[in-house]
Symmetry: C2
Subunit: 277 residues, 2 copies
């Protein structure tokens, strides 16, 4: 069943990358002024800066840090590169702890030419390898299944079923799934796998945006909610029925939106959030 329409911004979170032209400080100022409650911080947006200071700045303005994006990219052709990916993810866990983010989203990785079955093994091994550090620091990890059009070089985990399988295999309270409507809306098994994920208590995040027709760019042409064909409210209903009570995170990569005035864009996001999410 579709969810009830949203009537407030209490569960609205926006990813810093959605407003890529803004500095982290501009993002925080605008979110605070516009009553956006949650923020998901992309690693590049605190690059060079101190995660501790970034976390303080965010909390001082009353914002809640929802997650830290993005770890993963475990598969590689050499053992050395796989080890280096593991170290990088461990550093990211430390950064998340310093920032005060409870969760890291994992874009699990894929390498053109490496069989997907092998990449999938590297992913499981990689997550298991960083798990002790994640537990130690109290940081959860969310496997984000990516759309099959990213199976070449971004993620070998491309359906909710696969993400659930991996999370179940690892079997830790610290490992769950990030559900992004953009990646998963087409899947006839989505509803049943969201239910399964809910039963496992592994729905860790919920990301929204829309799928535009036509899609002009495979990476940077995501739509604002309502601009495309995804029935976001229906999927949000499934996610909430499965027990999820967290934020609705607006994560939009869009060349055309990034060219526009970001304050206007934030107003559009808020409108679209109420009308179409």
């Amino acid at each position: 069943m579709s969810a009830q329409p949203l009537t407030s911004f209490d569960k609205l979170c926006i990813h810093t990358i959605t407003h890529k032209p803004w500095s982290l400080r501009e993002v925080i100022d605008n979110f605070a002024r516009e009553n956006v409650k949650g923020i998901t911080v992309w690693r590049g947006d605190i690059e060079g800066g101190s995660p501790v200071e970034a976390g303080k700045m965010i909390r001082s303005r009353g914002l809640e840090i929802v997650s830290y994006c993005r770890g993963g990219f475990f598969p590689a052709k050499t053992a050395l590169d796989r080890q280096s990916a593991i170290h990088d993810n461990e550093r990211m866990i430390d950064e998340a702890a310093a920032l005060g983010a409870p969760l890291i989203v994992l874009v699990c990785g894929a390498v053109p030419g490496l069989p997907l079955s092998e990449s999938r093994r590297h992913i499981v091994d990689g997550i298991k390898a960083i798990l002790p550090r994640a537990k130690d620091k109290g940081i959860k990890l969310a496997i984000e299944p990516l759309h099959p059009m990213y199976a070449d070089d971004r993620s070998a985990i491309n359906t909710m079923q696969q993400a659930n399988d991996v999370a179940e295999e690892i079997g830790s309270d610290y490992v769950g799934v990030a559900i992004d409507v953009y990646h998963l809306w087409w899947d006839p098994r989505l509803e049943v796998e969201i239910k399964r994920c809910g039963r496992m208590k592994k729905i860790f995040a919920f990301h929204i945006c829309d799928w535009k027709t036509p899609t002009e760019d495979i990476l940077f042409d995501r739509g604002l909610m309502g601009e495309g064909c995804i029935d976001i409210r229906k999927i949000r209903g499934w996610v909430e029925d499965a027990g999820f009570k967290g934020y609705n995170e607006v994560e939009i990569f869009s060349n055309s939106r990034w060219e526009k005035d970001q304050a206007d864009y934030l107003s559009e996001i808020k409108q679209a959030y109420l009308r179409h999410s």
Copy 2:
């Protein structure tokens, strides 16, 4: 297990659209001269012309017509439009019979904003509606599952499992599946569903090309075999192990290739066919 390398062009079929800049007559002349045995004819390439004459011209040069592309596009928002799609598919069956093609490939269709579950119902209803005409004319129908990135406006059938389910539900010897590596390579269930399709005797066609990294255009940037990340030989092995003995059909939509000299391109295709298929 991977298939044996190909050592001849006996099973090579090329889609007319692969050489879009050429007229049908140029395609036929070049295929005949270059020892390409099979041809799949795209409807647009005989537009305005007579399918009977096209068929005669093709056979007179020793080429075999493998299939006729493409029917489908059954889902629509109004009953009138659905009926019109059914009539168009019936006309296409007549054309295939006139041409002498044994098979029509179905790009089943999807409409932005129409729920996929509803589109899927329209697809089943549409195929059932045209089935009497297909039987009457002796034309088989192949459901082609399309990559999930086309679920908005091209096909609501996006995995081999769905195509098998629909073919099984319809339960006619005239309805099977067209397997295209471009659409399906990423799917962890592909091998098992190819086996299932083989058991049902429903593998009707096998299409090859490659997935490029990066993919610059969602429609027209397919790669030549060997240019991308798809293990075509492995998938061909699954298809042959499942009992398929038909052609390997090269179907490449590529803006960059269409700009090049088509005779050179045909040589490249033949080389890539032996090396990477």
